[in-house]
Each structure stands twice: as structure tokens, then as C-alpha cells.
């Protein structure tokens, strides 16, 4: 399998504290991957680095067939290159309708002048409706995103990610605060998405990870502790000591 994202030897220090320590991570083109690890292991910081929010002190982040370095690009450039991100807290535009949220995310020209002169086509409208269908929010399209329930906001955000048509999706704790039924819907969405693109999911909930049924990477103190199938890593003594055993 060809590599889509290759992160090698990155380190980040915050005020003397090493949040990421010589971490390496690869993911292929249509792969689903779960990242687990104790709080403060550096999972969110890892996503910050890939998406350009945080600059690492050292290391490389190489992207795509052309082996472009993401470290030289701004957040918006990285997003346009095909990296989509879902934050830990649901972040949707609360003051705007579900429709407008999705429309804004839809893969289109992003320059100010393109957007100013943008006219909504029937095709784009249909795309938004199809996405809303997929995330189960068809009935909510005209409502303000701020009125949605917590779980619905999470889906809306996932829908916005899908609308971006990214090649790599980074999803930070999607199931937090969801009911069991909502979790199942979310698992299905992610597995479906991973058929055509790479998806990285950070999650604490072991049941959720088990249902994802994919390769697992365990983070600990800013580096990779173990990698493999869920059964493989949960049998690892070190993983049991630092993460599962507590």
C-alpha cells in the first residue's frame, strides 16, 4: 500500500515540556487507523502538527505522491491539499444554518473573489442534501447549527469533513458524549469514509475502537508505544502497564 502521510521523527516542546518525542507515523491511501493512549499522550498535539496548527521543533511531515512537506504550508493550504480535521469539541458555525455549514465546507474554490462571485448551482444543492442524508440531518437543514443536539453537531462536523472531500481525515474523539446508538452510526460513517480515503480516529472508548476493526497505534508520552491489531496491542505488557492497567 502506498503511503499518503509519512510523519517521521517529530518532536515538540512546550515551555520545556516534551509533548511529542521523536514520533513517527505512516498511513496509506485508504486506511482506517485508531490512535489510543492516556490523556496527555500527545494525540491532539499530533493532529495539530499534521494540520499546521503547531510547528514541530524537528522532524518531517511528508504528504502525497509528490512528497510535499506539510511543514512549510499554512493551515488553510494543508486543508486544501486534502487534510480534513474534526476537533475534540464539536465546532460548527452555530449562528448559521446546517445547510450553510455544509455549503461552506463543500469542496470548491476557496479564494475571496471566487467565493464572492459564487452562485449556488442545483448540483451543489443536491450534494448538500445527499450529505445531510448521510449524516441523518436532512430534516434539520434550515435550522441553525446552534440549535442541534450535541450528537447532531458531531455528525454535522463529520458531514462538513466529508463535504471537503479530504484524502485524509483526522478525527479527534468523535464518540465523546454520544449515546450507544449514536456511536454506532458514527462508527458506520467512519468505516464508510475509510473505503475511499485515509481516516485516523483518536478514541478512548475501547468498545468503539473494537467496532472500528482496524489497525491501532498506541501513543504514550509523545511517542508510539505499540502498533498492530487491537488484540495485539492490548496483549502488550507495556500498553497494559501505562494505559489499560490503570
Amino acid at each position: 500500500m502506498s503511503t499518503l502521510l509519512e510523519v517521521s521523527g517529530i518532536s515538540v516542546t512546550f515551555d520545556g515540556f516534551r509533548a511529542i518525542n521523536n514520533l513517527s507515523f505512516n498511513i496509506g491511501n485508504a486506511e482506517l487507523r485508531a490512535i489510543i493512549g492516556p490523556n496527555g499522550a500527545g494525540k491532539t498535539t499530533f493532529m495539530d502538527i499534521v494540520t499546521g496548527k503547531t510547528r514541530p521543533d524537528e522532524g518531517r511531515v511528508i504528504w502525497g505522491e509528490k512528497n510535499i512537506s506539510l511543514l512549510k504550508m499554512s493551515e488553510s493550504q494543508i486543508a486544501r491539499a486534502g487534510v480534513g480535521r474534526k476537533f475534540q469539541r464539536p465546532t460548527v458555525f452555530e449562528d448559521q444554518s446546517v445547510f450553510d455549514n455544509l455549503l461552506m465546507a463543500l469542496k470548491k474554490e476557496r479564494g475571496p473573489f471566487d467565493v464572492l462571485l459564487y452562485r449556488r448551482s442545483a448540483q451543489d444543492r443536491d450534494k448538500v442534501h445527499a450529505l445531510a442524508d448521510e449524516i441523518g440531518l436532512s430534516a434539520e437543514l434550515p435550522r441553525k447549527a446552534g440549535e442541534l443536539a450535541h450528537g447532531q453537531k458531531q455528525w454535522l462536523e463529520i458531514g462538513m469533513l466529508l463535504a471537503q472531500e479530504p484524502r485524509l481525515l483526522l478525527v479527534d474523539e468523535p464518540a465523546a458524549g454520544m449515546s450507544p446508538a449514536e456511536r454506532e452510526h458514527t462508527t458506520n460513517l467512519l468505516k464508510e469514509a475509510a473505503k475511499t480515503r485515509a481516516v485516523v480516529v483518536v478514541e478512548h472508548d475501547m468498545e468503539f475502537v473494537r467496532r472500528l476493526d482496524c489497525k491501532v497505534t498506541v501513543f504514550h508520552e509523545g511517542s508510539v508505544l505499540a502498533e498492530g491489531s487491537l488484540d495485539h496491542v492490548t496483549a502488550n505488557q507495556e500498553v497494559i502497564d501505562v494505559y489499560l492497567g490503570r
Binding site: 486543508a79 486544501r80 452555530e94 449562528d95 448559521q96 459564487y118 452562485r119 441553525k144 440549535e147
Partner: protein, 410 residues
């Protein structure tokens, strides 16, 4: 299947209609073209108010929609006024110099005319030379272009520097205040080339229209101001009505999220900042010929703060709110500070509104911010009853400019 612009923005049509009726009404009641109920100076006040409404729309775009609390837009307003003022003053002085030398046995040479103009305009600041920045002052077309170009360029350069270093929130507001202060201090200097604290005066006299009475000129400017306000409103409604509006409101509430959607946030901010600076400059260029005089005090930092107060009181994030705020507060302010408001004798102390108006304004501002964040414009929401976003009192986004829950209840 797409509805028309007006169908999607019903408030636009209502606004334009009200503005047209207002303008027609004032014209019919005016001294110049009507039944002489409204004095020429009142017509000028109303015309100036329309210009203030226009800059309030600019402020609402940049602050209410894009979340950039610029406290410097009156600098652009003032610069627009200076640019048109240079032409007005130069050409008017030229006419005076030419007519003064008309009786002389020899017709004056162009150099003599220039010297005469220089002495007339710059005598008060101890000069006679026409400074290089007045190079285009004899061309109306060039100065009109400069009305747009100079403030636009200043906004572009300032915005580029500020936004690319990701200065946001309070720090950006302070930076815009610093820019305003620097500009007004510079203009206060006699050798700034713009007559220092004397400013430019006699702007109400239109060169080439010496025989047209002020009562008529005031009406023409009222019409021009109303037209500019209507166009500005339409432009702003068009900008915020589509996807662009979606993006900038997103930037207001959570700019990091917009970045991760792939939008170049700095580019959008720069665009909005510059476009609104140009709108402000055009408003200024229409305002000062009606005011008759412009001096550096007009650009003082406090003016830009008032602008934010107007928009807050009117209700930010809605265009008609900004217009209502600017019209209401500036007219009430004229009434109070003009000495028309009756003093209140309390026995031991007499409340003189000229002194106490600012206190009242400040208190109103605080009250609006605390108790009615949607401002006067919020009254219109009582007609419609949509659910509020459920944020349990939290802001709608993590950013400082973001909407608060109470502001978004519609």
C-alpha cells in the same frame, strides 16, 4: 429555482423604500426645492447623517460580520474628506485669485496664480509654497480617484501587516487606534502639507457653482448621500448575503475552524478591511463638503470609538441595525450637544446636557451591551420567533469577536 436578490433580502427593499421616501420628503419640505419647512442647515445635518449611516454599514461589515473590532475607520473617513477637500479648496481659491487679478492691466501668468493660491491657502501655516501632495489638486477626477486609492492603500498595507502576523482581538483594536492617533497627530503638524490644525475649510462652496445657492447645493448633496447609502447597503447586503457572508461570519465566530476548512482567513480579513475602508472614505468625501470644514480633530481616535458605539446600540451583525444606530445616536447627539436639550435644574446642581450627554451615551452603551446585546435592531426580531442556539449563555465561538448567544437569537 434561485430566488432573486430582493426575495432573499427583504430588508433591502424595505430599507431602500424608506430611504427614498425620506429623501423625497426632505426635498419637498426643504428651503431649496420645497415649502421651506426644513432649513438648509437641517438638510445638511440630515445629509451628513446619511454619510454617517454609510460608514456605520462599513463598521458593521468589518466588526458585526467579520469580527474585526476596528477602531480606526474614521481615519479612512477623514482621509476621504481630505482628498476631496483639497480639490474643493484649491479650485475655489484659484477662482478667487483669478477674479482678484481680473482688473489688472496684464493678465496673471500661471505662476502668479499658483503663487497666489499658495499664499492664500498656506499663509495660515506660514508658507506660500504649494506642497507636492497637492500635485493633483486641480483635477477633480484625480482627487476623486485618490478618495478611493489613498485610504484603500493605507488599509491594504496596514491590514496586510496586522493580519499576516495574526494580530486579533483587543490587540488589533489597539493597533487600529494607534494608526488613527498617528495619522491625526501627523495631520496636526503644520508641515504635513494639509494646513495643520486649521484643516481645510470653505468646502461647502463648490467651484464652478458659485451662483447656485447653498439651499440647492445642500439638496444635491442629500441626494448624493442617499444614493451612496443605498448603493453601500446593496453592496453590503450582497457581500454578506451569499457564501462570502457565511465565511466571514465563520471567521467572526471561530477563525481557526474556517482555516481548517481551507479558507485563507487573512485574505478574507484583508478584503473586508480594505473594502470597508473604501466605503468609509467615500462616506467621508460626501460628508465634509456638507460640513464645510475638516481638521485633524475629526480623525481623533475617539471618533472611531463612537462609531463602534453606534453600531453596538443599533445592533451589530445586521445592516439596518447599524444604520438605525448611527442615525439615532448621531441625531440625538446633535440635539443634546447643540444646546437644544433643556437643562435640568436640580437645585444644588444643573445638569447641562452639553457636558452630560457623553455620560448618558456611555451609560446607554453599557446598558445595551449588558441587557440588549442585539441593540435597537433587536426590536425587529420580536416580529419573528425563531429558536435560539442552545449555548446556555456561552458565546457562539471561541473568538473575541464572536457572536454572543443573546445576539443570535433569531
Amino acid at each position: 429555482m434561485e430566488r432573486s436578490f430582493f426575495a432573499r433580502n427583504p430588508s433591502t427593499l424595505i430599507f431602500i423604500t424608506i430611504l427614498a421616501v425620506f429623501t423625497l420628503g426632505v426635498t419637498l419640505l426643504s428651503e431649496g426645492l420645497g415649502v421651506d419647512v426644513i432649513s438648509t442647515s437641517m438638510v445638511k445635518t440630515l445629509g451628513k447623517t446619511l454619510c454617517l449611516c454609510l460608514i456605520a454599514i462599513a463598521m458593521d461589515l468589518v466588526w458585526g460580520y467579520c469580527g474585526i473590532l476596528s477602531l480606526g475607520h474614521f481615519a479612512f473617513f477623514g482621509l476621504g474628506g481630505y482628498m476631496i477637500g483639497m480639490w474643493l479648496m484649491y479650485e475655489r481659491t484659484k477662482a478667487i485669485v483669478v477674479s482678484a487679478t481680473a482688473g489688472a492691466p496684464l493678465p496673471p501668468t500661471p505662476q502668479e496664480i499658483r503663487d497666489g493660491i499658495g499664499t492664500q491657502i498656506f499663509g495660515v501655516v506660514g508658507g506660500a509654497e504649494i506642497p507636492p501632495i497637492w500635485y493633483f489638486a486641480d483635477s477633480l477626477f484625480a482627487q476623486l480617484a485618490l478618495v478611493v486609492l489613498i485610504p484603500g492603500l493605507l488599509a491594504l498595507v496596514f491590514g496586510w501587516l496586522a493580519f499576516r502576523s495574526r494580530v486579533t482581538g483587543v490587540y488589533l483594536s489597539i493597533l487600529t487606534q494607534a494608526m488613527t492617533l498617528a495619522l491625526s497627530l501627523y495631520l496636526f503638524q503644520n508641515d504635513s502639507g494639509l494646513r495643520g490644525n486649521n484643516g481645510l475649510s470653505g468646502l461647502q462652496n463648490l467651484p464652478g457653482a458659485e451662483n447656485v445657492p447653498q439651499s440647492l447645493i445642500s439638496i444635491y448633496f442629500l441626494w448624493a448621500s442617499a444614493a451612496a447609502l443605498a448603493l453601500g447597503y446593496l453592496l453590503a447586503a450582497w457581500i454578506v448575503g451569499g457564501k462570502f457572508g457565511s465565511v466571514i461570519r465563520g471567521i467572526r465566530d471561530d477563525e481557526a475552524r474556517v482555516r481548517f476548512l481551507g479558507y485563507h482567513v487573512e485574505g478574507y480579513k484583508l478584503f473586508v478591511f480594505t473594502v470597508t475602508a473604501i466605503i468609509a472614505a467615500i462616506a467621508g468625501a460626501l460628508y465634509y463638503p456638507q460640513a464645510g470644514i475638516i481638521n485633524p480633530a475629526e480623525i481623533a481616535p475617539i471618533a472611531s470609538i463612537y462609531l463602534a458605539v453606534w453600531v453596538a446600540i443599533g445592533g451589530r451583525g445586521r445592516l439596518y441595525g447599524a444604520v438605525i444606530g448611527a442615525a439615532f445616536v448621531s441625531l440625538v447627539s446633535t440635539w443634546f450637544t447643540g444646546g437644544q436639550a433643556p437643562d435640568i435644574p436640580l437645585g444644588f446642581y444643573t445638569v447641562k446636557w452639553v457636558d452630560w450627554w457623553l455620560v448618558l451615551l456611555g451609560l446607554s452603551f453599557v446598558a445595551v451591551t449588558l441587557f440588549a446585546p442585539k441593540g435597537i435592531g433587536g426590536l425587529f426580531d420580536m416580529l419573528s420567533g425563531r429558536l435560539a442556539p442552545q449555548r446556555h449563555g456561552a458565546d457562539l465561538g471561541p473568538d473575541q469577536g464572536s457572536f454572543r448567544e443573546k445576539e443570535a437569537e433569531q
